[in-house]
């Protein structure tokens, strides 16, 4: 069953979370019960595919063994080669699941949420390497973090240290009341975004485009904007559900969106769109690349280094979506935009060509909106297909 994909799923959630809510409103601890809810919810989600359920179990064992082994090793030594090996082994199942469909009709490794679980596992290895995680990770807590069901299918990608801190907190009845209120608000927002606006855009506009538009160009133009809005309402709707349910379970999962279509430039956009993913790539790809290159002193020009970091980040992000042409070009497009904006920002700092005022602010939002929509048009794959 797809998480948040049908009303039945919400009904099951309501029944499962009723004791959590009652305990929370009485100011009692409910995290032990939430572990039980997670097991049942995972069983419900993966009940339709035994293959996926087995893949999830094997993947979890793989990640836990890897994380625990690396943590034990890190207490004694800190060799680069072992760290790289641990990272490669951590992302190996994801790579195989992305590559396998090109060689076989059966994908035995892939399962719903493999990407997001991999991001969590790799993050733990990297933070262990940095010395941010030193103490032993209790197995139930580690499993709960990796398999936290509200965010399992598409994030938001949480950070272990933040997650752990929240679990350790004692939530009073008053505090839980606020969490519950915010959680319900987000769930209603999710219904508005996904089930009302997103569904309407897709059902009444995108699927009717051949009757609405009068030319091929118009068809593609309408598609570009409507698909961009549909993608946002679909994904922001999912995120609102995931975050809302997390809140009800006493965990403040990070936000994924912050009015992305009001971004002033491409850098601003990536601080507002799919934030948990872009911040993951920023911290674990971009920053690491910059740090590594600076340490090795291979490239001394800071601007060139920053641009290379952006190119690496966005190409990887593109490839992560899939090995299809549209995703690779989507990544390259955003890398190019980021490099161009970086150069423009430096130029503008010197020459003050683009003043900061209300008019330029609005113009910047409008330009960025169209540039972003074109990116989503590439992402949709319609650019490479005939007709919509």
């Amino acid at each position: 069953m797809t998480p948040y994909g049908s009303f039945t799923f919400f009904f099951i959630l309501a029944v499962l979370l009723a004791p959590t809510i009652i305990l929370g409103l009485q100011g009692k601890r409910f995290q032990s019960y939430n572990l039980f809810v997670t097991v049942i919810a995972l069983a419900v989600i993966f009940s339709s595919s035994l293959n996926q359920a087995i893949a999830l179990c094997l993947f979890t064992i793989w990640q836990v063994v890897l994380i625990k082994s690396y943590l034990a090793y890190r207490k004694k030594a800190n060799r680069d080669s072992i760290f790289y090996l641990a990272v490669i082994l951590s992302i190996l199942p994801l790579i195989l699941s992305k590559v396998m469909p090109y060689f076989s009709t059966m994908n035995l490794i892939g399962f719903l949420g493999i990407s997001y679980l991999t991001f969590k596992g790799t993050q733990l290895i990297m933070e262990t390497r940095d010395g941010l995680i030193k103490s032993n990770l209790p197995l139930p807590r580690l499993l709960y973090f990796i398999l936290f069901f509200p965010t399992i299918s598409s994030g938001p990608i949480d950070r272990y240290r933040r997650f752990e801190k929240e679990l350790a907190l004692d939530i009073s009845a008053e505090q839980y009341k606020l969490l519950l209120y915010e959680g319900l608000n987000k769930i209603f927002l999710g219904f508005l975004y996904k089930y009302i606006i997103g569904y309407s855009i897709n059902h009444f506009f995108i699927s009717q485009l051949r009757f609405i538009s009068h030319s091929e160009f118009q068809n593609h133009l309408y598609y570009m904007y409507s698909y961009s809005l549909y993608l946002f309402f679909d994904f922001a709707g999912y995120s609102a559900f995931a975050i809302g349910v997390s809140y009800i379970m006493g965990v403040k999962s990070p936000e994924n969106f912050n009015k992305p279509f009001l971004s002033r430039n491409i850098k601003d956009f990536w601080n507002r769109w799919h934030m948990s993913l872009s911040f993951w790539f920023r911290d674990y790809v971009y920053m690491r690349f910059i740090f590594w290159m600076t340490k090795k002193k291979w490239i001394k020009n800071r601007n060139l280094l920053s641009n290379l970091g952006y190119i690496l980040l966005f190409l990887l992000m593109g490839v992560w979506h899939g090995l299809a042409l549209q995703y690779i070009i989507y990544g390259a497009y955003h890398a190019l935009l980021m490099v161009a904006y970086n150069s423009f920002e430096r130029f503008n700092k010197k020459h003050k060509w683009w003043p900061q005022n209300k008019v330029t602010h609005i113009v910047a939002i409008i330009i960025t909106f169209h540039v972003i929509c074109f990116g989503f048009y590439i992402f949709s794959g319609q650019l490479f297909h005939k007709g919509v």
């Binding site: 948040y4 049908s6 299918s153 219904f191 508005l192 009302i196 679909d234 999912y238």
Partner: protein, 49 residues
């Protein structure tokens, strides 16, 4: 005048009423669009990644 407007807008009862209407509208729209069917608004795009 502005102060009175500000007081009016920050009134707790009004906020509560606004929230109530907002939730009710969403529920009504869901009901009109899907009725008593177990609606599926299509799979999520990002579930594929």
């Amino acid at each position: 005048m502005f102060e009175r407007f500000k007081d009016f807008m920050t009134n707790q009862k009004l906020k509560w009423l606004g929230r109530f209407v907002y939730y009710l509208l969403i529920l009504l729209l869901l009901f009109f669009m899907y009725g008593f069917n177990d609606a599926s608004a299509g799979s999520y795009i990002y579930n594929d990644f």
